[in-house]
């Protein structure tokens, strides 16, 4: 189903499809008309996507059909081997962990996985991890340090799960522990925000040397809906909240929260998953290639400094 602002493009696509079918059926040459329509489609898509409001960007970040973390893992790394369980309470399918090869280098991979359909969404808890998921991540950070495996994390979550068990099992505690443990890694760490970077639950996996974000992904302290409910006392004000929160890739680059933006194919990653996945693969490979030469002490120090600098304030003279 197209997003509301995708309707004109969707209609144009349908017309192109019809024309192709007609041309084939009737053995007539409509190629110049089709090419013209395709050009129009591309420029319309480009125009639409360069002028999206922040709220529309949020919708793209959550669009059905947008590649999920596991879709990326199929091509960004080779031979991904999942490692299950936190060794205490269970295995959290919302946070997938494992080892793989990135080019010639072995890496530890952490990925927040949303579902690709309703059934998988329920299985994955819509990408909202419980403490068990974060405990599994803690175990992976240890593994990464022990065997000098760089860490790649793919961030895509509405947030850490807010539930009774999650609170009882120390959701806040494990998120804090993840932030601390990841900041101490002595191997390169690269995070890519591929969809929704939802608050502390996202940050727990994004204390990296390089934090990349996909062009239409978002990263925010709170969802626009919750922000609207609290600050406007009206969840329907989510579009206003999205504007106020400055949560787009460009906003975050300007704030110094992310280091680089990975461009998506025209029309968004959901229109061309393979293109988006390849763009991420190249970006991640380039970052790891650069970071692998940096000594361990330096990696940890640089990462600490990266986050120590965060924030804006006025200073007394």
């Amino acid at each position: 189903m197209p997003l509301p602002f995708e309707k004109p493009m969707d209609e144009l696509e349908a017309r192109i499809r019809d024309m192709r079918a007609y041309a084939e059926d009737q053995h007539v040459d409509l190629s110049s008309e089709i090419v013209a329509l395709e050009r129009r489609l591309e420029s319309l898509t480009r125009d639409t996507f360069t002028n999206l409001s922040r709220w529309q960007r949020v919708q793209v970040a959550r669009a059905p059909g947008r590649p999920t973390a596991l879709d990326y893992l199929g091509s960004v790394v080779e031979g991904f081997t999942e490692l299950h369980g936190d060794r205490a309470l269970g295995d959290d399918p919302a946070l997938v962990a494992g080892v793989a090869k990135l080019g010639e280098i072995g890496v530890v991979v952490l990925a927040q996985q949303k579902g690709r359909d309703t059934k998988e969404n329920i299985h994955r808890n819509f990408g909202m991890a419980h403490p068990s998921g974060y405990r599994k991540a803690l175990r992976m950070f240890d593994l990464a340090d022990k065997f000098k495996l760089p860490v790649l994390s793919l961030v895509d979550t509405p947030g850490a799960y807010p539930g009774i068990a999650a609170e009882e099992q120390g959701q806040a505690w494990v998120i804090a522990a993840c932030i601390q443990r990841m900041s101490r890694l002595r191997v390169p760490a690269v995070s890519v925000i591929i969809g929704e970077g939802g608050s502390g639950g996202a940050l727990a996996l994004a204390v990296a040397n390089r934090v990349l974000i996909l062009e239409h992904a978002i990263y925010s302290v709170i969802s626009p809906e919750s922000c609207a409910a609290i600050r406007w006392r009206d969840a329907a004000e989510a579009p206003s909240a999205a504007e106020a929160l400055k949560l787009t890739a460009e906003d975050l680059l300007e704030q110094g929260v992310v280091d680089a933006i990975v461009e998506e194919p025209v029309g968004g990653a959901h229109k061309d998953p393979a293109g988006a996945i390849e763009a991420v693969r190249q970006a991640v490979e380039a970052e790891i290639e650069e970071l692998r030469r940096v000594p361990s002490d330096e990696l940890a120090r640089e990462r600490r400094e990266r986050f120590r600098r965060m924030g804006r304030f006025l200073e007394a003279n």
Partner: protein, 367 residues
């Protein structure tokens, strides 16, 4: 606008306090008993009837934890700025201005050096009355600085949290403070200096999920709401009733999340005991050269903060904290003790809490 609203809300209360004998009495938010204001203050804002721990003004907390005349304030050199131009039903700058005037503080935390039962320590005390104690760039920076300076001066750090979480008006920059405060604690860890975190009512969201739960020991006051997501958010998510005592200190103690729950009257002595014990290991006193100090970076990013020339003078409202906060002892607090209700009626609390998960909890109110 903000100021008018503030005055409308505050004036009648002030008037009552000054003129009417009714203002001398407070209603306990636990047992609803009428308590003589001076008794409540003398009892560290703990109800003498039911031992309910009311929220405590920052100055009273500092006075309670510091040996007399030893507190030296470190915080107050950095001021918040509206980096995002955030406007909801009211501009963030106006909210800031109003609360700065009211609290005579630049932001929601006070830090400094003190002696605690004769032990030199660094203190960080959060102010829930200041935009719900929410953590933006300034709170993050003050926490980072107090950790680093404590490490430099070989002082253990004690933080007292009270916060609705990250300050959403500062967007992702406030989220980043969770990581900033966490990495700054490394300065203490590298020198093996104790960091004890005290959680008070309420400690929620991004503060719970960062420095406040990373203490070598984590202690809570009785009955405090401590959580990641607030009860309201959880209830909306799961659509069931929450268990009795859910997310309160005693509940979390039973779940293994806290080292202990310590009544306010015993807190100072407990902290002194723990700090002394942690410094009595086989290597003698850490921080005295036992562990090689590893220098951490100290640069401060002021990008977009108005440039190098912008000092506090450029802060709208230009509020400054009194130089000598130590002088604000319990008695002084008592004089202005509408901090107890803090102008934070339960309605406004939600407005001010700065985070997702905050429930509105009734507080002691003037009767």
């Amino acid at each position: 606008m903000a100021l008018e609203r503030w005055f409308r809300r505050k004036r009648p209360t002030r008037g009552d306090d000054d003129a009417s004998p009714k203002g001398l009495w407070l209603k306990c938010s636990g047992c609803h008993a009428q308590i003589y204001r001076k008794d409540l203050i003398a009892n560290l804002f703990v109800c003498p009837e039911c031992a309910h721990h009311e929220r405590m003004p920052v100055e009273a907390r500092v006075a309670m934890l510091s040996d007399e005349g030893t507190f030296e304030r470190w915080s107050g050199r950095v001021a918040p700025t509206d980096a995002l131009g955030f406007v909801d039903t009211e501009p963030y700058v106006e909210r800031l201005e109003a609360v700065q005037k009211k609290s005579e503080r630049l932001d929601a935390v006070v830090t400094g050096a003190a002696e605690l039962d004769g032990v030199p320590v660094a203190l960080a005390v959060m102010d829930f009355g200041f935009l719900g104690g929410s953590m933006g760039s300034v709170v993050g920076e003050e926490i980072a600085r107090v950790a680093e300076r404590a490490a430099d001066e070989a002082r253990p750090l004690i933080s007292v949290a009270a916060s609705g979480g990250a300050r959403m008006q500062e967007g992702a920059l406030s989220l980043m403070q969770m990581a900033k405060t966490t990495v700054a604690l490394e300065a203490l860890a590298q020198r093996r200096l104790p960091y004890i975190s005290v959680l008070t009512d309420p400690t929620t969201g991004g503060v719970t999920a960062s420095f406040a739960t990373l203490g070598d020991m984590v202690i809570a006051e009785p009955g405090a709401l401590i959580c990641f997501a607030g009860p309201r958010v959880i209830q909306q998510t799961i659509k069931q009733d929450l268990p009795e005592g859910f997310q309160r200190s005693e509940f979390l103690l039973s779940k293994g999340m806290l080292d202990d729950v310590v009544p306010r009257a015993a807190l100072k002595a407990r902290l002194a005991t723990l700090v002394r014990l942690l410094r009595a290991g086989l290597d003698g006193e850490p921080g005295d050269g036992a562990a090689p100090p590893v220098p951490l970076a100290r640069e401060v990013s002021l990008a977009g903060a108005g440039g190098a020339g912008s000092g506090l003078g450029s802060v709208r409202g230009g509020v400054r904290v009194d130089a000598d906060e130590a002088a604000r002892a319990l008695d002084a607090i008592g004089a202005g003790a509408d901090d107890v209700d803090g102008g934070q009626g339960s309605g406004d609390e939600r407005d001010d809490d700065g985070n997702v998960g905050e429930e509105s909890r009734s507080r002691a109110t003037s009767v």
